[in-house]
Symmetry: C2
Subunit: 197 residues, 2 copies
């Protein structure tokens, strides 16, 4: 039982960093949560900072694989109802997927301290969703589902309110159900305002 220890350390580090931040996390506790004694960690990483950097590497790579390339863009929905479905599926995933939630929390906590975290935070919190919806809205306009307008502006106007509610879920998980309802209500309102009648 060995070779995956490095992975297990990173997983535990994501968990702790997302709850207590980098400074608030200590190696003893981190090792203990893996059933190790603290010095054991140093067989796999040279320092706490190296753990942090490896974790960021993983988060950046994961983001690239998952959202980075055009072929991962979702298909353009061909009805308003399917558009709302897609939004709700995406929201559900991003709110409930533990790894994604923890990644967002870590980026929230470390965005002012680490430059790579800063950049990745902007992608997660702003540009990522906006770019995705820019593509979708351009497609929907071509299909006549949406009024002709600046797709990037619409994408910004659509994704940032949803993003705000996702942050709310991260901060106050007990409001998750309400937030999901509000995402759907907002989505329908948006279609009512910009959809082609």
């Amino acid at each position: 039982m060995a070779k995956d220890t490095k992975e297990r350390i990173l997983t535990a580090a994501l968990e702790m960093f997302s709850q207590k931040g980098y400074e608030g996390t200590n190696i003893r506790e981190l090792s203990a949560s893996l059933g190790l004694v603290k010095s054991g960690i140093y067989k796999h990483f040279e320092s706490k900072e190296e753990i942090w950097n490896a974790l960021l590497d993983r988060m950046i790579a994961y983001y690239g694989e998952r959202f980075g390339s055009p072929e991962h863009l979702p298909p353009v929905p061909d009805s308003p109802e399917k558009f709302i479905d897609m939004t709700m599926r995406m929201a559900d995933l991003t709110i409930h997927d533990e790894q994604i939630v923890k990644t967002r929390k870590v980026l929230t906590l470390e965005q002012f301290r680490d430059d790579r975290a800063r950049k990745l935070a902007t992608k997660h919190f702003l540009t990522g969703l906006t770019e995705m919806f820019t593509h979708i809205f351009a497609g929907m306009m071509n299909k006549g589902l949406l009024r002709r307008d600046d797709p990037a502006m619409l994408a910004f106007a659509y994704s940032t309110p949803i993003s705000a509610l996702i942050h709310l879920c991260d901060r106050e998980p007990e409001k998750t159900e309400d937030a999901i309802r509000r995402i759907e209500a907002f989505s329908r309102h948006f279609i009512a305002a910009y959809g082609v009648k």
Copy 2:
């Protein structure tokens, strides 16, 4: 040189907490930034945690004074152009006022650790602006400046994109100019979509 030391400590604490977070801040450095030696601080506060709580008290009180009561609501603008002016003045203040910026950063960093910070963060980042614009939009609908619609939904759709750009400024200050331009562009787009022609 004496009685205001408590205030100076809180000011310095806001500065440091906003940059390094609570855990990342140490009392020696904090005192040094005031020209004190660390034990001097303990003449004014019993512990680091008491400084934190006092700072939160101040932030909560300040928020209450400034945004908490109905009489502080801005007047309902009586033209689209004045509405945009008001938005831009507010954005400019909230992006450039150092105390407000530091408060947002502290709340960002400590929202998962401290319950009062959690609640205040939600006010700062979501409900505060939304409530304000709900009032303004209801007024503008009455004046015939805005299409009749759910004012709370419009306020949510209007304030959260602006909030996202404010967060961007906190995170990447070099993008401030661009963000302010985008706030204005969004504001005009919003009026074009929902304003009465």
